[in-house]
């Protein structure tokens, strides 16, 4: 991942040697083009009536785009497992928050409980 600024000087005994994983430039450009293509696709598909699947298509494309940014632009693919675990936990919590909240909203009135619905 990253080195602390204070210790950076000690980590570079060999002068201008590259630190961390250097992603080849073609990968950056390929990711950039893919992101643009997906942006075009999601804006176009929105006008096709897929019923309730429109939102699933839109979100699937958004998740793919976000994953590409995370894996390549943010170097997550080349990061330590600890970093991966950390990011994974963040999205797990986000999912938990939305899922538990929605389980309340969606199930209101199912059993005719007083004061709800």
């Amino acid at each position: 991942m990253t080195t602390h600024p204070g210790t950076a000087a000690h980590d570079m005994p060999h002068g201008d040697e590259a630190v961390g994983h250097v992603v080849p430039l073609p990968i950056y450009f390929a990711v950039f083009v893919t992101l643009l293509v997906f942006t075009g696709v999601t804006a176009t598909v929105a006008f096709v009536d897929l019923g309730r699947f429109n939102i699933f298509v839109a979100l699937t494309i958004a998740v793919i785009k976000a994953s590409l940014v995370l894996l390549y632009f943010m170097h997550l693919r080349y990061s330590s497992r600890l970093t991966l675990l950390f990011v994974g936990i963040a999205f797990f919590w986000l999912g938990t928050m939305i899922a538990l909240t929605m389980s309340d909203v969606v199930s209101r009135g199912w059993f005719g409980a007083a004061g709800l619905g």
């Binding site: 250097v22 450009f29 804006a43 839109a58 785009k65 939305i98």
Partner: protein, 191 residues
């Protein structure tokens, strides 16, 4: 930096949760309100922000492999420029919304049905895009400082941590927009 970004994910996550709840309750009001947004400007802005992420990644890459401070500064300035274009387009969109009286508050006006639910959508629209824009303004300031440091030859393969961390922040802000775009602009466009 990742620790900070995790708190940011949950910070924005609260808003995404509110959005999910109210969109599930009032899907059609959200659809009508979303269709008033300018899709051309929104799509352009998405592309502009992706471009700024590319130049940011190139700035980090340059700092990783060379001591060329001018080139690093050039990529940082390109990122700032694209970020500025994004904020400019966002300002045009906001101005349109003020002009159309779609801004929640005493002057809110809506001809169609469910004005209260539509107003709710626009409240979320302004809070979410506003918070996102605030993050970008902060990012622009950090990039400016980095560009000056790069010109002074502070960065190279031995020390590029500030560039790398700012890159993580900038890409994170891009990811937020990647979700905001379909959720705010692309609701029931087909109807």
């Amino acid at each position: 930096m990742w620790v900070f970004l995790v708190t940011e994910i949950l910070f924005f996550g609260g808003l995404f949760t509110i959005y999910t709840v109210y969109r599930s309750l009032y899907p059609h009001a959200f659809g009508h309100a979303s269709s008033t947004l300018d899709l051309t400007l929104g799509t352009t802005n998405t592309a502009v922000l992706i471009g700024s992420s590319l130049t940011m990644a190139l700035a980090v890459h340059t700092a990783q492999v060379s001591r060329n401070g001018r080139l690093i500064a050039l990529f940082l300035c390109a990122t700032m420029l694209l970020g500025g274009v994004f904020l400019g387009i966002k300002a045009v969109e906001y101005a349109q919304k003020f002009h159309e009286h779609h801004v929640p508050g005493p002057y809110f006006h809506w001809e169609g049905g469910d004005p209260q639910h539509v107003e709710l959508y626009f409240s979320l629209y302004f809070v979410m895009t506003g918070l996102h824009a605030l993050h970008m303004v902060i990012g622009e300031g950090v990039l400016a400082v980095l560009a000056i440091m790069a010109l002074r030859g502070r960065f190279g393969p031995s020390y590029f941590t500030p560039v790398e961390l700012t890159g993580l922040y900038w890409h994170f802000v891009d990811i937020i927009w990647i979700f905001l775009f379909p959720l705010l602009y692309l609701v029931e466009r087909h109807s």
